[in-house]
Symmetry: C2
Subunit: 320 residues, 2 copies
């Protein structure tokens, strides 16, 4: 089953979200609109708004309230992508034929700031002070994670604790917060929104581990970027860490640096795949997925529980 | 009288703010702490926290509440400076002997994000929903202004409307918001906090016009940067706009571009000074200052009104 089919009953609400995302961006100058629209149209699964809406079904679901939280969370995600692009462009620039001028980086930085500010405007509609605290804490953690990610690049002596903390900040926290704020905005009790946070956290961890696996197992066409690009850019992910548990593999992998050629990278990718690291990474993802499903089972009866389970399983086991 | 002497009765509270600013930054990684501390120690007048505190005196002043708003506003200001530095470093880099690596720009971007996120954590302590709306709107405007400032660079056919809108977003709005949120946090009535917003807005406009004058009239030692650097970087400010009202001056000024030599810039600075543009700019600043004082007179009797008047006059007429 396709992901979108799992929550087709939300279609009209998701259209509202999509429209509101476009509307929000319209408030900027033409240049800001263009730059933001570029990110918006790049798409993505809108998984954060979907979690906001589904979590809202555990309380008094009112799309007029839910939409502000859903759009805000997607905008925060977008803003972080725009800022990450500044970094990624910088790295890709060295090998790529077209050199991005600094102008682009400046615009990207300010576009990220703008998109992020838009999310605050929407969140300001939410009266619950707890929601603001939770979101602010999450954003602080995400920004700490962003710097940490730069510092951890090509640091081959890092361990799983470093990796897990990084993907928590990079991905899991915002998905956890989407689930929790959706429930809070709908006035769900604390026992429920805290469990939804846990659920989102585990799903987010599983999600990112799969993402990191796909960097090795997908083709360039599926990824829209070269396979192994994470490692080439110095991102040490679960498959790399598992592969490095073998000393011979480790010796080869730690040679990877920005200037490593595509041919050398192809060899490294094969090496990672043959080391059993992919299977171990899937098992790690499954561990988080199982935890997510356990928390989910513990939530009050609700017809969206099946939807959340389907999405979690899809995300945690997807092949592209 | 020195600026700090004007509000010496706030000294112990300002020390609390200063301590809390340092504390807030400690929550980051060592690298983030270092990068943030650099901006923090660069100092500045802490004029936004001072306005927050003084505005709070129009309500039930509780430093435990006020400090969160005061620190949040200063952090937002800091964050915008850090992001502006990315732009400025980029420009200065071309002429400077030491080339800043991209690494620094990345860190600056994420440090700005982090410092901004910290401000949200503090603001989350403020329960008043109106405060969040006002601040969010201001931040959106500031980010729109940041992009506009890039687009307006070296655009010599802009007019005063462009300039005034730009300095409103760049400076006046955040000072206005500092005044208003200080009053709101202290529970002052709407009639009062709206007037304080107006007061802050006019003071902020005057403040920025003076800043733009000083770029021409101060020495390099006073500014800690070369005189005329704003114009060299393409920033068309009040003195430039006034000077360009004369066609002969205009012909010379519009030749200024990034590659203009220090000798050529010295000639342009002399030309601006001799055109009467500095005096006209002071008159423009005075106009806003007078408006600020009129609004202030209309506020309820309060002993801090004299302090606010002194600060406004100092800011609006300072010589360095």
């Amino acid at each position: 089953m396709k992901l979108k089919m799992m929550y087709s009953f939300l279609n009209s609400d998701i259209n509202i979200i999509e429209k509101k995302l476009e509307e929000a961006i319209q408030s900027g100058s033409p240049l800001l609109q263009q730059a933001s629209m570029h990110t918006l149209q790049a798409g993505g699964k809108r998984i954060r708004p979907v979690f906001v809406l589904l979590a809202g079904k555990f309380g008094k679901y009112d799309i007029d309230v839910m939409k502000d939280v859903a759009v805000a969370l997607e905008l925060i995600h977008m803003a972080s992508l725009v800022h990450d692009d500044v970094i990624d462009n910088a790295d890709l620039r060295r090998g790529a034929p077209t050199v991005k001028s600094k102008w682009d980086n400046q615009i990207a930085m300010y576009t990220g700031d703008f998109v992020f500010a838009l999310s605050l405007e929407l969140m300001a509609n939410i009266k619950n002070p707890a929601a603001h605290k939770i979101l602010a804490n999450t954003i602080v953690e995400v920004t700490i994670g962003e710097i940490q990610q730069i510092k951890d690049k090509y640091r081959y002596n890092q361990n799983f604790r470093d990796y897990l903390r990084r993907i928590k900040r990079k991905t899991a926290l915002l998905i956890a917060t989407s689930c929790q704020l959706g429930a809070i905005a709908a006035g769900a009790p604390e026992s429920v929104h805290k469990k939804l946070y846990q659920f989102g956290y585990y799903v987010g961890m599983s999600f990112q581990i799969i993402d990191d696996i796909l960097d090795f197992t997908s083709t360039e066409e599926e990824l829209c970027k070269p396979a192994g690009i994470d490692l080439l850019q110095g991102n040490i992910t679960a498959p790399v860490l598992f592969a490095m548990e073998n000393d011979l593999n480790r010796k080869e992998i730690i040679k990877v640096k920005e200037s490593t050629s595509p041919e050398q990278m192809a060899e490294i990718i094969t090496l990672v795949k043959q080391s059993g690291a992919i299977e171990k990474s899937f098992a790690l993802s499954d561990l988080y997925l199982e935890k997510a499903l356990t928390v989910l089972a513990d939530l009050p009866a609700n017809k969206v529980k099946k939807t959340l389970r389907d999405i979690a399983k899809f995300i945690g086991r997807r092949k592209f």
